[in-house]
């Protein structure tokens, strides 16, 4: 014993704290203050690093640009009026998904350290709920600000839009908590059943109202089809649109408009009622919150490991084993391992397909009435989504293996070949999805464009590999690992870092494509200089040269990824 212990109080004596309904709320306020002070301290410490200062400047510039580049001009207003239909649809989709998620997975979650300190402490359940609601309010209004930066209607000031989006997100958070409370006494299978019932009910509501709208509004109803379903969200839309009011196309869609002050009163009343409903709960939320927190932590851990949106691994694989691929110098083994992981996770790909379809439908709706056929623009949007967003989304490569890098480095596989093997699985899966989509595009594309589709099908596997190699190279150089220590989603630093990396990736992709295009142009003129007069021959020569150049650039990029892989130090702290 190195120091004398303080005299102990009488055993069992109450230390003195009133056991009121909100007992423990005062220490929670202290905790909030201490954590804020800690964040300020960490922020100030971070400012000593030049990289952090540059990132901060970039973030400030980005926010300033988005805030000042308000959609006031005629061009912006026109763009917005085309996309105005998306806003109510977005809010509706958010509501349906949030309601289902609250019933299925629960939302009252705390960080592991909050569970450690607060759950065994003399803190009432109501104080815990209040803490959760206040945290949700902070997150909702911060999220509302970011929503407002990107999705602000024309001629609307930033504060109104932020208030509207923030209010909507907080309303959703309260609704989710109320639903979670109503489901928390259920065992897992019963809870899953209730979640399915709620989802089915909400989808039926949307479908029913759509059918009703179609029936009443006749053939001209394609824009107004969601009117009844989104009507309950009208007050939020009115606040988001501020004093300027909803754009004409949105008014047409909504079929009604609410005065701003009435909307504010309605939202305030709803939020107050929901909050009162939540805080009047008498039972103990600890156990359910503990389960939700553990699940959330596991999800964050999967994100940190690069397996964003992947299913939780099942206890048993069902005995299915993928056939081993050809060895290919060692690349086949790595591709087989990654494909095995991919084959046991269906949900993210289903989600990718749903996102792609939603993108297509939305763009089709938004392009309605324009000169371009909406089916074609929908198809083009979906294909662009799969080509450019797919490689960001499908991450079964180095991005999912960050913690195995020392082990991977110890294997007797040359780094370039290992890199190729790592990238192959994601490239293959993406290509399969793209081919499936192209099959649909085939029917909507005019026949004259079909050769371009064929060329695209040939080039896509190489382009996928090129994109994946660039993403992986940037990931190995500037990893986007998310901090799981705090058990929270990524913060502003990670978001800004992601922005910078996305810009970097597109610069490199642009350069690689330009090199391939330059070779194609050279071949075009070279073929002409050699005496080939037929356009088809020159086109063929340009295509072959461009494609070969693209293959070479991709091979070089993969080799570079291999070199980066053997040079980086995985033990460094990546959270700064």
């Amino acid at each position: 014993m190195s120091a004398p212990l303080p005299p102990a109080p009488p055993v069992g004596a109450p230390v003195g704290m009133p056991a009121g309904a909100l007992s423990g709320a005062a220490p929670l306020r202290l905790l909030v203050l201490l954590r804020m002070r800690g964040r300020v301290r960490a922020f100030r410490a971070g400012l000593r690093r030049p990289a952090r200062v540059l990132m901060l400047l970039f973030a400030v510039a980005l926010v300033a640009f988005l805030a000042w580049n308000s959609p006031r001009t005629g061009r912006h207003a026109r763009d917005w009026s085309q996309a105005a239909v998306l806003l109510p649809c977005l809010l509706l989709a958010f509501t349906v998904l949030s309601t289902w998620a609250a019933a299925r997975h629960g939302v009252i979650a705390f960080t592991p350290e909050e569970v450690h300190f607060l759950f065994p402490a003399p803190v009432t359940s109501r104080a815990l709920l209040l803490t959760h609601l206040l945290t949700s309010a902070g997150k909702s209004f911060t999220g509302g600000f970011f929503f407002a930066l990107f999705l602000r209607p024309p001629l609307v000031s930033l504060p109104w839009a932020a208030l509207g989006y923030g209010g909507f997100l907080f309303f959703l958070a309260l609704l989710q908590v109320r639903i979670d409370i109503s489901c928390m006494r259920l065992q897992a299978p019963a809870r899953a059943r209730r979640a399915r019932f709620i989802l089915a009910f909400m989808l039926a509501l949307v479908a029913g109202s759509s059918a009703l709208a179609l029936q009443r509004l006749g053939p001209d109803a394609d824009l107004r089809v969601l009117r009844y379903a989104i009507w309950p969200l009208l007050p939020f839309v009115s606040i988001i649109c501020g004093r300027a009011g909803p754009p004409e196309i949105m008014q047409e869609l909504l079929g009604a408009s609410l005065p701003l002050d009435v909307s504010i009163l309605l939202v305030l009343g709803t939020v107050t009622l929901l909050a009162a409903g939540v805080l009047s709960f008498q039972g103990d939320v600890r156990e359910a919150a503990h389960h939700t927190s553990v699940k959330l932590q596991a999800r964050i851990e999967r994100i940190r490991r690069g397996r964003a949106l992947m299913d939780a691994p099942k206890a048993l694989s069902g005995g299915r084993v993928l056939p081993m691929l050809p060895r290919l110098g060692g690349a086949g083994v790595h591709a087989w391992r990654q494909l095995t992981v991919l084959s046991r996770s269906r949900k993210p790909y289903l989600l990718l397909v749903v996102m792609t379809l939603l993108m297509g439908v939305s763009m089709g709706l938004a392009q309605r009435g324009s000169a371009q056929p909406s089916a074609l623009s929908a198809a083009a949007s979906m294909l662009a989504m799969l080509v450019f967003v797919g490689p960001m989304y499908v991450q079964c490569d180095f991005r999912a293996d960050y913690e195995c890098l020392p082990w991977l480095r110890s294997l007797p596989t040359p780094p370039g070949i290992l890199a190729a093997g790592q990238l192959l699985a994601s490239a293959l899966v993406l290509y399969v999805l793209q081919v499936l989509l192209t099959g649909w595009v085939f029917f909507v594309l005019p026949a004259s464009n079909l050769p371009w589709l064929a060329v695209m099908l040939v080039c896509l596997p190489v382009f996928n590999l090129l994109q994946l190699s660039v993403w992986n190279g940037f990931h190995l150089l500037y990893p986007m690992r998310m901090t799981a220590k705090e058990g929270s989603p990524p913060g502003a630093v990670q978001v800004v870092r992601l922005y910078l990396v996305v810009i970097g990736v597109f610069v490199v992709l642009g350069l690689a494509t330009a090199i391939a295009a330059a070779f194609g142009v050279l071949a075009w003129f070279g073929a002409g200089w050699l005496g080939a007069s037929a356009t088809l021959v020159r086109l063929l020569a340009a295509g072959i040269a461009g494609f070969t150049a693209l293959c070479l650039v991709t091979a070089v990029c993969i080799w570079c990824v291999g070199r980066i892989f053997v040079r980086i130090d995985p033990s460094r702290d990546l959270n700064d």
């Binding site: 014993m1 190195s2 120091a3 004398p4 212990l5 303080p6 102990a8 109080p9 055993v11 069992g12 109450p14 230390v15 003195g16 704290m17 056991a19 007992s23 423990g24 005062a26 220490p27 202290l30 905790l31 201490l34 954590r35 002070r37 800690g38 964040r39 301290r41 960490a42 960080t111 592991p112 350290e113 569970v115 450690h116 300190f117 607060l118 759950f119 065994p120 402490a121 003399p122 803190v123 009432t124 065992q187 897992a188 299978p189 103990d284 600890r286 156990e287 503990h290 220590k485 705090e486």
Partner: protein, 242 residues
């Protein structure tokens, strides 16, 4: 001080803890041992009020945990198997927060004494993110000790500590028991548990396989490790007593 009666916890079809009875007197240290997945952590989490029992009752210092949760929790401290700290808070701020949480009055003196006892005085202003695993464990233990709880629940408190740290931790636990705290400590370190505890509870598949002092459960000649291995090898306590 800790009174557990017929405590049961079921998750869907799985019974993690099955009708466990246990009473821990003030000043007593009970060692809770069992194989991985035996139900030790679930049992301790129920005692800490994090999980709700499916059946049975828990009373801490005479306060039933379900009916009078705040008063019961006021009298206990729980240290989980992995020390979870607020990354941006310093060691001092952690202890200050816990003092506020439990309404401790002479907080400066208690915090200083604990930091000295666990050799954390020079880490007073270090944030949790800068601490090693062992240091974090010490901070978590300090947070549990700072309000001098009558009931202490320690889940694997020796994990991550070096031999010196383990010895100090055992001494600190024994000192708290000597002052009248009832302690339940779970660990896989059977030799240390054998030296530290007054009584043992061997839990297997959610049920209490054996309970009592070492002499009661195994006679004078056998060690806790022998008893544990026999009790958990599938033949059960009856085979052990033969």
């Amino acid at each position: 001080m800790i009174d557990v009666r017929s405590l049961t916890k079921s998750f869907d079809a799985v019974t993690a803890v099955d009708h466990v009875d246990l009473a821990v007197k003030p000043g007593e240290i009970v060692g809770l041992v069992g194989v991985n997945g035996a139900g030790k952590t679930t049992f301790l989490r129920m005692l800490a009020g994090i999980l709700q029992p499916s059946e049975g009752s828990i009373a801490i210092a005479g306060h039933p945990l379900t009916a009078d949760g705040v008063a019961a929790r006021q009298n206990l401290a729980f240290v989980p198997d992995t020390p979870m700290l607020f990354e941006q808070l310093t060691v001092w701020e952690h202890l200050l927060f816990v003092c506020e949480l439990y309404g401790v009055e002479d907080r400066e003196r208690r915090i200083d004494a604990l930091l000295g006892e666990f050799e954390l005085a020079d880490k007073r202003h270090a944030t949790a993110s800068s601490l090693s695993r062992g240091m974090r464990q010490k901070v978590a233990i300090c947070c549990a000790f700072v309000h001098e709880p009558p009931a202490l629940l320690l889940d694997e408190p020796l994990t991550g500590l070096d031999p010196v740290g383990r010895r100090r931790m055992c001494d600190a636990i024994a000192a708290r028991a000597a002052r009248g705290s009832a302690v339940i400590v779970s660990s896989h370190e059977l030799e240390i548990i054998e030296r530290l505890s007054h009584r043992f509870v061997i839990i297997h598949k959610g049920r209490v396989q054996l309970a009592g002092t070492l002499a009661e459960v195994a006679g004078e000649t056998r060690s806790l490790e022998d008893v544990f291995l026999r009790a958990t090898d599938g033949r059960g306590a009856e085979a052990l007593r033969e």
